[in-house]
């Protein structure tokens, strides 16, 4: 069994509005393993974004509040952390990429300023500062005339600095700034932005949507996070740009080994990028499994309906099957299983009690009374 870096147990997030209490999350259980890409998929209002905001403790309060459950990250409950402690985790250990890249960049700061801010906030750059100095001097040495006495002096300086590497002295503000910019350019190279030296001096409005999203991803990766949450990372982008970003994400995952939680409504993205996938409906995870197993043998009637309702590029379907009705109102959610009013296999028990999420096949859990728990 791989190690879980994040364990969510019984998470409940409610929104207290004038119209009533919106039960946005009603007891979510989710494990995210080290190094995997996991998808959360579902329709508008099913709670997938609220899940990610709850993990980051960014649920707007009021009206929202996390009313129960726990989120264990590296053995500690995030819900018990103070705001200060959360701030040091956010942006460094758990980071987030949002749907609309324009909303989440500051329009009056250059790209370089924004990315280096994240780096200076979360990282001790003293060592980086020393490295930057070494790089600078080495650049000079290459240009200098080999016979000049200056060269000898510079070589000695490099040796001096190299000795400092392990125990770097406290860097000055200017040095930190320089080092941070240095790292910024490295991260921008990592996300394959063309001409990063130029991009750091540019403002967000000068970049295209795809480039902005790369900048956001660069920010999220700049501190080598353990978990990257990508909330609809490509929804506002065109398909050819989406393909670029998805290819980038899977390439980066191999390089940095972080776990990625992708939140999306697009089954295609899930199929192409995720190792495991959780299907959400009206505030609950109704099915969770390895991606291949889920697409091969969807168990929950909602998952089955969802998969049949998508027009497909690679096969011909005369008529799309539909799920009758629409997503329920979460102020007065249906009793029992929240899917029962739309379910074609409804039984007597379905509107009385909520079905627990149980493992039916190895690694494949479903919350539905149609499936008896596998005998262990």
């Amino acid at each position: 069994m791989p190690e879980a870096i994040l364990k969510i147990r019984g998470l409940k997030t409610y929104f207290y509005t004038y119209a009533g209490i919106v039960r946005a999350l009603e007891g979510i259980d989710l494990d995210i393993y080290k190094g995997e890409t996991i998808g959360l998929v579902g329709e508008t209002g099913c709670g997938k974004s609220v899940t990610s905001l709850s993990i980051m403790r960014l649920v707007p309060d009021p009206p929202g509040r996390i009313v129960g459950g726990e989120i264990i990250f590296k053995g500690e409950d995030l819900l018990k952390k103070s705001e200060d402690e959360m701030q040091s985790i956010r942006g460094s250990q758990i980071t987030m990429v949002f749907q609309d890249p324009m909303t989440f960049v500051n329009p009056v700061l250059t790209v370089g300023d924004q990315v280096s801010e994240v780096i200076t906030l979360h990282q001790d750059l003293a060592r980086e500062a020393v490295e930057t100095k070494i790089d600078e001097i080495q650049d000079k040495i290459v240009q200098i005339d080999p016979s000049s006495p200056d060269r000898q002096r510079l070589m000695e300086r490099v040796k001096e600095l190299e000795a400092m590497r392990e125990h770097p002295p406290k860097a000055s503000r200017g040095e930190i700034k320089k080092a941070a910019l240095h790292r910024t350019i490295d991260v921008l190279k990592l996300v394959q932005l063309p001409d990063p030296e130029k991009v750091v001096k540019q403002y967000p409005h000068e970049l295209s949507g795809g480039m902005r999203q790369r900048v956001i991803i660069a920010m999220a990766l700049s501190c080598n996070p353990d978990l990257l949450i990508a909330d609809e990372p490509t929804t506002s982008l065109d398909v050819t740009i989406q393909a670029q970003i998805l290819a980038l994400l899977s390439e980066l995952k191999k390089k940095i080994g972080a776990s990625i939680l992708i939140i999306t409504h697009d089954m295609g993205i899930v199929a192409e990028t995720c190792d495991r996938v959780g299907v959400m409906y009206a505030g609950n995870i109704v099915e969770i499994s390895e991606t291949k197993a889920l697409f091969k043998k969807p168990l929950h009637p909602y998952t089955q309906g969802l998969l049949r309702a998508i027009p497909k590029l690679h096969e011909d379907i005369k008529n799309l099957e539909i799920i009758p009705g629409s997503v329920p109102n979460l102020i007065h959610p249906p009793s029992g299983c929240r899917f029962h009013p739309r379910c074609p296999f409804r039984m007597d028990i379905c509107d009385k009690e909520f079905p627990p999420l149980l493992e039916v096949d190895p690694g494949h859990s479903v919350a539905c009374y149609l499936y008896p728990e596998k005998k262990r």
Partner: protein, 331 residues
């Protein structure tokens, strides 16, 4: 797909152009132009669905709006039922628009929030003097039943409806004046998949029952494929490839079409295919690239591509046209 031969063209668009001026300076003179649509030719046969697909900013919505003259075209001809409608007077245009209707993308923005559903759906009937009073009420009820809504929805306001229901209201309004052609401008892109399926099925049923012709505009190739008989692919204000659905899916001639097909994520992890990811972004339609507009992103471009603009011509099979010097080559 359909039994009756599709011969007569209900709509012919000939070298349609729309250049939006960019105004600047104190006098507000046009300093430059956005070449949103730059010479588009296609035709729609009676009873068929033509899909218009492309990325944002390629001009597909502008084409749709120009056909109804909601946006005045800069140049070109639009033949609707054998008649050129480009120079018609506004009063005559209203009569023509009774026969050509549009369903807009955003069902939240396209319905007047202060009008009841009866007012919204009944407006085209009043405007075209089709019905009033009790007959109007009955007609509206018929239309609502047609799209799967009921009598008690009639006196409600748009905010009381979900996105899918609002889009049905938009469809009912478009059907009110018994049109022959309906332009569907991204009708399902703001809807969730389960609701999208309901709407697509409804549109198909209506087309079969009322013998409608659709021009279906979307960025979603899977939806376009599900709905269309013929598909036109647009890139930066031009049609780069047009052909019957089956032929286009069998063999894509234009490198952009090939890349577009490869870029769509397939909801089936067991399905594997070759994938070439296009580099770079869509260029700005203010200064479109010289020659073939796709050449800066094209992985197989040759020198000729940056100089000579390729024409939209037939290559292997009749009716399947592509604008590429290297049509048929794989990227």
């Amino acid at each position: 797909m359909k039994e009756t031969p599709l011969t007569e063209n209900i709509l012919e668009v000939k070298s349609l152009k729309k250049h939006f001026p960019i105004r600047g300076g104190v006098l507000g003179r046009a300093v430059d132009y956005v070449y949103a649509v730059d010479g588009v030719d296609f035709s729609v046969k009676t009873g068929e669905t033509v899909g218009l697909v492309g990325e944002s900013g390629c001009g597909k919505t502008t084409v749709g709006r120009c056909i109804l003259r909601l946006t005045e075209p800069t140049d070109g001809d639009i033949m609707f039922e054998g008649r050129n409608i480009v120079d018609l007077k506004p009063s005559e245009m209203i009569k023509v628009r009774a026969k050509m209707q549009i369903v807009f993308q955003d069902p939240y923005a396209s319905l007047n929030p202060r009008w009841t559903i009866k007012d919204i759906v009944g407006e085209p009937l009043l405007l075209n003097k089709i019905a009033k009073g009790e007959t109007l009420r009955r007609r509206v009820l018929d239309l609502l039943t047609l799209v799967g809504l009921s009598e008690d929805h009639m006196n409600r306001f748009p905010h009381e409806f979900s996105g899918g229901q609002r889009q049905r209201i938009g469809v009912a309004r478009a059907l009110a004046s018994t049109p022959d052609l309906i332009v569907l401008d991204e009708p399902t892109s703001s809807l969730d998949v389960s609701v999208q399926a309901q709407t697509l099925n409804l549109l198909k049923t209506l087309q079969a029952n009322l013998k409608l012709t659709y021009l279906f505009i979307s960025h979603n190739l899977s939806v376009i494929k599900h709905m269309s008989d013929r598909i036109a692919v647009m890139y930066l204000g031009k049609i780069v490839e047009l052909g019957s659905r089956d032929e286009l899916f069998e063999k894509q001639l234009h490198p952009y079409t090939q890349a577009l097909f490869m870029a769509i994520p397939i909801p089936d992890p067991a399905y594997h295919r070759r994938r070439v990811v296009l580099k770079g972004d869509v260029p700005s339609p203010v200064n479109p690239p010289s020659g073939c507009r796709f050449h800066p992103r094209c992985p197989i471009a040759i020198e000729k591509c940056s100089k000579v603009e390729p024409e939209l011509i037939e290559h292997d099979s009749p009716g399947h046209v592509a604008a590429c010097h290297l049509a048929g080559q794989q990227i």
